[in-house]
Every structure is written in C-alpha cells, then in structure tokens.
Symmetry: C2
C-alpha cells in the first residue's frame, strides 16, 4: 500500500465527509486455506504478471507522448522484474517456467482478451486497476505457501508497483479531456468481473470446502473496496 | 560479443570451408569523431532501446507457445534495463528522459513502422537482427563521449543481450518449418537499409566533415558484416 499513500500526497484534496485513509487501515483477510500447490501458485502468478507486463508494453507502443512512453517504460521495468522473480522461484522448484505456466494460460489469455481496451486510455485504465487487484489477490494467497517460499513471494509482491505512475498518466488525461471520465468509469466497472474470474480460478477448494465458497466472500469484498478506492482516486465513480 | 560465442556452443556445427570465428576477431573501428553531444547521444540511444524493447514486447504478445513467451520475457527484462540505464544517465545530466528523447523520435518511429513485420517470425527476426546492429553502432559511437560517461555507456552496451534467446527461437521455428527460411532471409536483407538509416541520422558531422562522409563507410561495412554473420548463424543467406 506504500504507493497508494505516496501518490495520494501529490493529489489536490477536496473536502470529504470521511477521511479517505479510514478504509485503508482495515485488517487484511488472507486466503491461506485456499492456496494451491507451490508450482500451481507460481505458474499462475508468473503468467498473470507476464500478462500484466504485456498490457503495460502495449500501452508504451500506443502512448500519445514521449513523456508517457518514458513514464510507462519505468513502470514496465518493475513489472517484468516481478514476473522474472516468480519465474526464478519456479526454476528453484526444478520446473521450467513454460511448463509451470502452461496449464493455466486459458483463463488468463481470456482475461487479457476481454480487458484489452479500445484505445490507450482504456489500456492504461486496465493496467492501473487490474494490476492492483491481482497483486492484492496473489499477496493474500501467498501466506498458504510453505513458509520460506511464502516469505519470498510476499517480498516480491511487497515491492513498489507502477500504480502511482499509471494514476498520474490517467489524471493528466482526464484533466485534459474531462469527458473521458464517464467512459473510463464504465470501463473500470466492467473490469471487476473479468478480474475476479482470474482470481476465482486460482483458488484451490478441497471437497469439503466446495460447499462453502461463501467463506472467500469477505476477501473479494475487500479487493472490490480497494478497486473502488483506486477509481475514486481518479474521480471515477465506481 | 560474449553472447555470440555462448550461443554458438549450443549449435550443431556442419563442416565449413573457413572457421566462423575468423570474422569476429577483426579490430573494431569506432566512430568517436562523429559522436553527438552527450544529451543527443543519450536521447537517441534511449529511444532506440525503448523501441527495441517495444518490438520484443509485441513478440511476447504474439508468441505461439508459452515457452517462447517465457524465453522472450527473460530477454525483455535485459532490454528494458538497458533503456532504463541510459535514462538514468539522462537524468544525471539534469534533463528529463522525455525531453531528451523527444527531438529524435521521428526517424526511430519510422524505423519501427517499417520493420514491424507481418507475423511473429518476422517480428523475432527484426528483434534479433536490428538489436545486434544498433547496439554495435551505439557501442562504437560511445567512445566519443566525455570519458567517464563513455565508460559507463560502454558498460551498458557490454552487458549480455538477448541475442542467443532470439536465435534459439528462430532456429526452432525454421527447423519446424524449413520453408520459413527464404522468407526470413528476404526480410533480414530488407532490414539492413532501414537500420542503417537510424544510424546515419545519429552521426554528427561538422561542416568540415560534411564532404567526407566516406570515412564512416568502413564502420558500416563492419556492421553489415556482423549482420551477415547473424543471418548466417541461422542458415539464412544474407
């Protein structure tokens, strides 16, 4: 959440009925009961990160200014580093990165397809909102891994992200063209369902737990609340 | 050239009339007389590297297998790191990365457009051949920078590249579909002119030198010879 706070400092605050930080300090519920095997966790997480990186790269290619290209270039470096750190953990377990990712590409490719966006503004909105959502999700799933791996994976997801850079780009775009806001708000709402689907397929339910999927609902409520805060930070109504 | 040797080790050698390494040991001519100002050098080089990175990223998105995605993902990490290292040098000179790159985007964007390729195989061929050519060129231009900067930039270009990874991907593709070879050979030949144009626009000629552009010809002959060796390494006739 470090980047969340650091980027908020740079915003112009408008009076609000309730301080915005209040939402942020809630205790995070983790998902350790539903964590899949280490290799499945890493394979899915690495492929998700590679996909998030691809989205960011496409946004470099279609960026409207050199300044945006440079800013997102910096973000892409962090993004590919996260994928590569997960890939290194896969190799430590004796698998190849490709073999570990291969069984899980289907739903993630579908996610990529439906969240691609019609133009640069939607692409960047996708990067900003889905990266935060999916990183949060995998960070909460990580505590169910064997302890030393859980710690290393936790550190990978605790590294600073590109969220502030992407939010800045979007803020500038919306300031320059306020009519973008309603289109991007609608796009942001659409992303929730597709992003949640990627998360749900990553949860491992035992036979006993099958009947009992409601237990993960509080986590999704928190993930959606964080999504809403990300939209709210740009003045987009979730 | 380290990656050149390391990738050759993994190839199955066929008998040749002349050992292939002979070409490699020629003394490199540098271009220090024609080096532009530090900020121009860095702006152009950083934008070229960002473009090479974008090409690599597009090749991840369109890769036919998860194994290819994973391999090129590893390559992309090195590529964006090179751009970012040059960007850091720009910031040390007190400029923003965007301002330094902005005046030089025209010919490089045009290069990107004409070398984009019709499919994944052409994309990868572009990445493999143009990255080697342009890196060689900027490495030879770097000695004309002020000495401590020249040393740091030299180190950036001396870092291992993704050449071996890309050559492997292309070898596999051609082995699986030998008819690709003639199409990719033609594509490889076409790339030379467009790549040389990016190099020529980066050379700084004083009024006195204008009449005397022939002096850079030996360098371009060497760059083209290296290009031919890269094609030859894949069995493509240059």
């Amino acid at each position: 959440m470090a980047t969340w706070f650091s980027r908020r400092k740079r915003r112009i605050e408008v009076p609000r009925l309730r301080p915005r930080t209040e939402d942020v300090v809630t205790t995070k519920v983790d998902l350790h009961e539903f964590t899949p095997s280490p290799l499945e966790f890493l394979g899915r997480a690495a492929y998700v990160q590679l996909t998030l990186f691809e989205n960011l790269s496409l946004a470099i290619s279609s960026a409207p200014t050199t300044a945006a290209k440079a800013a997102i270039g910096a973000a892409a470096e962090g993004s590919i580093a996260r994928h590569r750190a997960l890939a290194a953990e896969i190799e430590k377990l004796g698998s190849t990165v490709a073999d570990a990712m291969d069984p899980y590409t289907g739903p993630i490719d579908e996610f990529e397809r439906v969240t691609r966006g019609a133009d640069w503004f939607e692409q960047i909105t996708t990067c900003y909102l889905t990266t935060g959502f999916l990183d949060d999700f995998f960070a909460r799933l990580a505590p169910g891994l064997p302890s030393s791996l859980a710690e290393r994976v936790g550190a990978i997801f605790a590294a600073p992200t590109a969220e502030a850079v992407l939010a800045d780009q979007l803020e500038q775009a919306i300031a320059a063209n306020p009519r973008l806001a309603s289109r991007l708000a609608m796009w942001g709402r659409r992303l929730v369902g597709d992003t949640m689907l990627v998360c749900r397929t990553a949860l491992h339910f035992t036979e006993d737990q099958r009947s009992d999927e409601a237990r993960v609902e509080p986590v999704f409520s928190e993930l959606i609340a964080a999504h809403t805060r990300r939209m709210d930070a740009l003045g987009l109504t979730a």
